[in-house]
Symmetry: C2
């Protein structure tokens, strides 16, 4: 990266610019094997005993702080819970760091804290540590929250981005694009005739049901920043495989699809907070899909594609008319500050 | 807390206002036993095996980002390493969350990342996970970093704020007030004739040496935000004891003392980044002091006071002339954004 460059919003969008920033600045400085695996959470052996931990962190700068179907506090709890769940871990403990702008209403902070407590209870995790810093008015945007989490990885579980394998069936648990469009419409003050709400939800329980039904699941990832297209690109690169995505099979939240059509946005790149992809060997795919559909967060689960040996690191989109074309990675910044 | 109130800089200063915010907003929402213990890090039993983990997080908003003797990256690494060390834990892994203002120079980000990598290597910890968010220009102040950390607590170690006991000798490893005054002078553009530098340092090694020499050490705490006076108040409250502090025995960095005198500040309330207090039973105090003095970060270690049965929750200052008076807790905001 050229040293005269400056950080832009696109560096935070989760696409190619984010990947380059992480590779050229952070990975270059911190090079170690755990970071290099590009997972949602680090997988760590303990100094004593058989256990492995999953450890992850996620910063949240969503604007507005309160939006249809959720708020920054709930998002911060579920975001980290889901990063741990995507490693097959049982989320146990969270630690939250608050950066607050002077002048922020204490009542809003209480509302966020109470929302976090409810979200933690729903996900079955404990918030055990925290820190609070205050900056001058004009040096933040109300409230930023970073949440780190620790989970326990049961023996035998080996779910990683790099394990996706040719032949794997790609499953999605729920319709895409609800979260990003709900936040976007709220922020821009657009009043569409819709009941569009964020899909923010804790995915640890449905993941456990999936792993019980399909224990040889190779890869899990929640399709947050950059949307379904971006996580498929990340997995294709990490595993050195190609991924075929059948557009006609991808469930899209109807109101989010309308909003995308109106605004000229592609739902494949819109952030979700309750959607994940699972890469499952073909002989376990039927059981996996049944397990997802038996859970309230997976009633509309679908098989949306499969893993190919090539083109390595690429995603191939099969259009509803049967044409195949390369799905480009996210370039610039579709929707800033959506999480 | 009155619901019409707004957050002020004093809520972030580490003193009474911070304690009230944590009690009335966060502890009220998240009430659980681990948070209620008011330690520097949470102490957590694992689902399997004998091990216990320490888990902590700390946000950093220091301004300027680069100051004599350190920078925000080094501070963020050592801050979390030290929170873990204060529980008697061996720090193992860190996860960093970056919130970056658009327009921030990539070269500065590289400088911070490289500083964090050096600090992690010096402390013997690995940075294993991270997250990056970007906000619009004018919605941050260059760069904020939150670092969470996980450490391993060896069997038999039981160091907690609530264990300070009447008769314990209070030890300090190094002269106070260097960090806060170094950042303050840099920020205000004051050019004093001094070599004043931040004392930022990883304290895990010297703590291990101390615990080897004085295994029945009751309490450790690093004297960061709010300074020595504030951590003594925290411990007095957590343990339900009084603490006698002999002012004449407290080592103060000479250049920091000069700067404090010039600006009318009390060094007892100025933040440190390489200073901690240890509460040690009297029969181990001699060995503890010798162990501290044998380490490069403890050459000027001193016994500065002792634990009293009362006044409960208070700190009694014995002045150089032998008078005794209550040392007030930090009220407002001495030095904002010092860490």
């Amino acid at each position: 990266m050229v040293r005269q460059e400056h950080i832009t919003l696109a560096h935070g969008a989760g696409g190619q610019m984010t990947a380059r920033l992480i590779r050229e600045v952070f990975a270059a400085a911190f090079h170690n094997e755990t970071l290099a695996r590009l997972n949602d959470a680090a997988l760590l052996p303990l100094p004593q005993g058989e256990g492995r931990l999953a450890f992850s962190t996620d910063g949240h700068v969503v604007q507005p702080l309160f939006f249809p179907g959720g708020d920054i506090g709930e998002l911060a709890v579920f975001g980290t819970v889901n990063d741990l769940a995507m490693m097959g871990a049982r989320p146990l403990w969270l630690a939250a760091s608050f950066i607050i702008e002077a002048g922020f209403p204490v009542a809003d902070l209480q509302r966020v804290a109470e929302s976090m407590a409810r979200a933690a209870a729903r996900a079955g995790v404990q918030l055990v540590a925290g820190d609070t810093k205050v900056v001058e008015k004009g040096k933040a945007d109300g409230l930023y929250i970073s949440v780190a989490g620790v989970g326990w990885v049961p023996a035998g579980v080996a779910v990683e981005a790099g394990r996706a394998h040719p032949g794997d069936v790609v499953l999605v648990n729920a319709p895409i694009a609800a979260h990003g469009m709900a936040v976007m419409l709220q922020r821009e003050g657009l009043q569409l005739e819709s009941d569009l709400e964020s899909d923010a939800a804790p995915l640890n329980e449905i993941v456990m049901a999936l792993l019980d039904a399909a224990p040889r699941t190779h890869t899990l990832r929640d399709a947050t920043r950059g949307g379904l297209a971006t996580v498929l690109h990340e997995i294709a690169r990490a595993a050195g495989v190609g991924i075929l995505l059948r557009e006609a099979e991808v469930p899209v939240h109807p109101a989010a699809a309308d909003a995308c059509a109106l605004l000229g946005l592609d739902p494949l790149y819109v952030a979700n907070e309750g959607v994940f992809v699972a890469f499952v060997p073909p002989d376990e795919a039927g059981d996996a899909l049944a397990a997802l559909r038996a859970h309230p967060l997976g009633r509309q689960a679908r098989a949306v594609g499969e893993v190919l040996a090539e083109p390595v690191g690429q995603v191939v989109l099969e259009t509803p008319l049967g044409a195949r074309r390369l799905l480009p990675p996210l370039g610039g910044n579709l929707l800033p500050r959506i999480c």
